[in-house]
Every structure is written in structure tokens, then in C-alpha cells.
Symmetry: C2
Subunit: 242 residues, 2 copies
């Protein structure tokens, strides 16, 4: 992590994401921009958190590791997203490990300033509510989905959610570098089993393998397999009530 000393850039992001009222005057001096390189850990499961981060550029991977060493990828995040919000509100240790997948830029604020100047600031509270309810919503879907459907269906849904709508879209686009084993950990299965299901999809003509890359051949087929159940992504802010 390195701090980026560029108040102009910071202002730019605040404007671009309409965060000016969220981080009002008293908080401004305590905001900083931080850069992370792919593979950098932003925070680690179990540690005491210190900063609230707002992701404004790049892609993050959120995962948890069991005591036996198994890894479960919980989500991939793109802007606008917040890291450390739940921990801030609850005062608990960091829940999941967060790692930069691409070069990442985040706005960071120390909890103490957030608390001093923000704890009664309605726009900030509303912003946090908005973000956290969205997270809750996504996680809730994810929980039901993972518990109710077999890997086959989850993979179909996953492929639909990470590839774009072109006639032939492949996994691993725009340098997003989602490896197959990450995908397996995300779906909550083993790498081995993922391969098995992919092979089956190949046979059914739904996807194709091309040197380590999966190419979606038949979105409709995948859709009918997945049913209406799609891994929900950050679909923007939607209509919030606040």
C-alpha cells in the first residue's frame, strides 16, 4: 500500500461518485487516497481494523480461510464499494481477507475520525445503510443459492454473471484474471469438481475450452440451466428509499 498524495484526484473521485455530502467538510482533511498492486492484501481476517476504505478504482477479491486452510471466495468487488463498514459499525475484528486483483485505488479514513465527525452525520449513515443493505441482499441470495442448487447450476449462473452479453464471451476478460481455482472457491466446490462440470458443459456444447480459457457458446442454454437464479452483482445503487 502506498499513499497517493493528490488532493485533486481525491476530489475528482468524491465528485464522480457523489460522495461530497457523505464525507462532509470536517471529515475531508482525514481522507487519503491509497494505491494497491495486484496481490496486495488490503486487510486480513481476524486483525483489528483501523480504516474504512471506499473502493474507487480496480477490482477486489474477498475471501475467508478456514482453520483447516480451505479458502472460500465470497465475492469480487468493483467500484463503488466499501470495505470495513460492518467492522466499523460493530467494532469487531476483520471478518474476511481482502486482496487486490488488479491495481486498486481506494479512499481511506481512519475509524476515529469517522466516529468523531461522522457518527451523527445523516448522509454518511444513509450511505453506509445503502451499501450494507446491498451487501446483505447479495449475500442473502448467495447463501440461499449455494445451499439450494448443485454446482452445475451455480456454475452456469456464475458464467453468466461474469461474462458480458456478446455472442461469444470468455471467462477472464478485461484483465480481470479470475482463475479457475478462484472460480471454484467462489462457487464453493473443489477445483477438481469444477473441471468435471466444465467438461460436461463442453460436451453439451454450452461452453468451449481454449487453452485455459472458458468460452461461453450458448448463453440461452446456460440460462435455462441456471433458471432465474443469477448471482447478483453490484447492479448500481438502484432505487433507495432514503
Amino acid at each position: 500500500m502506498k499513499e497517493i498524495q493528490d488532493r485533486e484526484q481525491l476530489k475528482h473521485y468524491l465528485r464522480a461518485f457523489q460522495l461530497e455530502s457523505v464525507f462532509h467538510e470536517p471529515l475531508r482533511p482525514h481522507l487519503s487516497l491509497y494505491g494497491f498492486e495486484p496481490g496486495d492484501l488490503i486487510c486480513t481476517q481476524g486483525q483489528a481494523p483501523e480504516y474504512l476504505y471506499v473502493l474507487v478504482h480496480g477490482k477486489l477479491k474477498i475471501y475467508t480461510t478456514s482453520s483447516e486452510g480451505k479458502t472460500l471466495v465470497l465475492s469480487f468487488k468493483t467500484p463503488l464499494e466499501v470495505i470495513g463498514d460492518v467492522e466499523y459499525v460493530r467494532g469487531t475484528p476483520i471478518l474476511n481477507t481482502v486482496e487486490a486483483v488488479t491495481p486498486v485505488c481506494m479512499i481511506g479514513v481512519q475509524y476515529r475520525w469517522l466516529h468523531n465527525y461522522g457518527k451523527d452525520h445523516a448522509p454518511l449513515l444513509q450511505f453506509l445503510l445503502d451499501i450494507i443493505t446491498q451487501k446483505f441482499y447479495v449475500k442473502s441470495n448467495s447463501l440461499s443459492f449455494n445451499l439450494m442448487y448443485p454446482v452445475e447450476v451455480r456454475l452456469a449462473s456464475y458464467l453468466l454473471s461474469v461474462t458480458s452479453d456478446e455472442s461469444e464471451s470468455r471467462l477472464e476478460e478485461q484483465g480481470s484474471a479470475v482463475s479457475l481455482s478462484d472460480a471454484a472457491n467462489f462457487i464453493g466446490t473443489s477445483y477438481r469438481h469444477l473441471n468435471r462440470v466444465i467438461r460436461q458443459f463442453c460436451i453439451q456444447g454450452l461452453v468451449e475450452r481454449r487453452k485455459g480459457v472458458i468460452v461461453v457458446k450458448d448463453r440461452n442454454g446456460l440460462s435455462s440451466l441456471a433458471g432465474h437464479n443469477i448471482y447478483e452483482h453490484n447492479q448500481g445503487k438502484g432505487e433507495t428509499r432514503l
Copy 2:
């Protein structure tokens, strides 16, 4: 559902749960008390919500039903808990079905009043944040746990979390009426498989069956099976930062 016309009782609950500042003067006239009988549905997945409810007495079951008819029990809730909070903030249809397990009493407020008089009211926002982050936390644990461990471990954890600390505690206490098939749906497995695992636990001397009731015989044994992973319950408000 029937409305309970008793302002004194309402005041009593507000005091008991320290909700007086959360629901401040302008909101008070729009609060009502509602009673539900076991089996009553408080709200149904997919509907348009209208009320925010605060559970002040009784026990609720939250579940979701897939289009194929499979049911997944997401949680059981006891006071203090809020229903409809995520939907209120996000303006979305009801996510999960909520059913009374015991006689239930809840404080209800229509969204429109909440919005009119509460959308900038910091104590209310803080309250919602507190509740929702707690929900998020529990759900997050639940997701990882369910995806990472086999039914055996989940059941051990579940038994520990629903039975009290006595030397011999049985499932199905204090009229809580958690049926085995509810338990199966909660753990995310089939009734058949749950039985299989219970049988195995019996053989290992961990639990005993007595006419449809499960009696925990060896908490330590269950603990070592479950590892440190326990289904998190509402462990009170904890230390919140707000």
C-alpha cells in the same frame, strides 16, 4: 394479525428495548402493536412490503422457498430483531418469508412515516445500521460455514447453539417447537440425511433419541466435532462503535 390497542404496552416495550430515541416524537403516533399466532405469516417472499416491524416478543422463523418448492430456513429470530429493514432501505420486494413460531408481538410502522419523519433522524439510522450489520455478520458466518463444512459439523454446531448449557439439554425446549425437518432445512440438507447423521451421533454417544426428541448427552464431544465454528446467534448488541 390483529392490532393490539394498548399504548401503555407499546410504551413499555419502547422503554424496555431503549427505543425511545430511535422512534422519536414525530414517529410515535404511527407506531402500533401487532400480535400474531403460531403459523401466521408476517410477510411473504416477493410481495411489496409496507411495514417495518420490530420483534419485541416471541419467536420467528425466516425462510425462503425456491421455485422448485424446496424450503431453506435461514434463521430463527428472537427479540430484539427487525423485519423489513433491508427492504425499507433498498426499496425492494420482500426477500424472505417470515412466520411466527410462537405467539408473537411486534411494533409496526408504515414505511411512509418512517421515511417522512425518520430518514434524517440519526438515532434511527444508527439503530438500523446496528441491526443490519449484525444480520450481515451472522449471515456471512452462516454462508462460509455452510459452504465449508459437511452436514455432520453443521449439525453439531446447530445442536450446541439451540440447546442450553445444562448437562442434558434437549432439542425442542421452551415450546420453541423446532421440528426436525425445520432443522434439516436450516442446516441445508434433507430430512433423510439429517436422520442419518443423528443416528451416527447416537452410536457415538453424542446424543440420544427419545420419542421424537433429541437429547444432547455430550456437549464436549459435539464441540470438538464442530470445532470453533458455532452458528452465531443474536449475542446482544455487543460493543457498537456508533
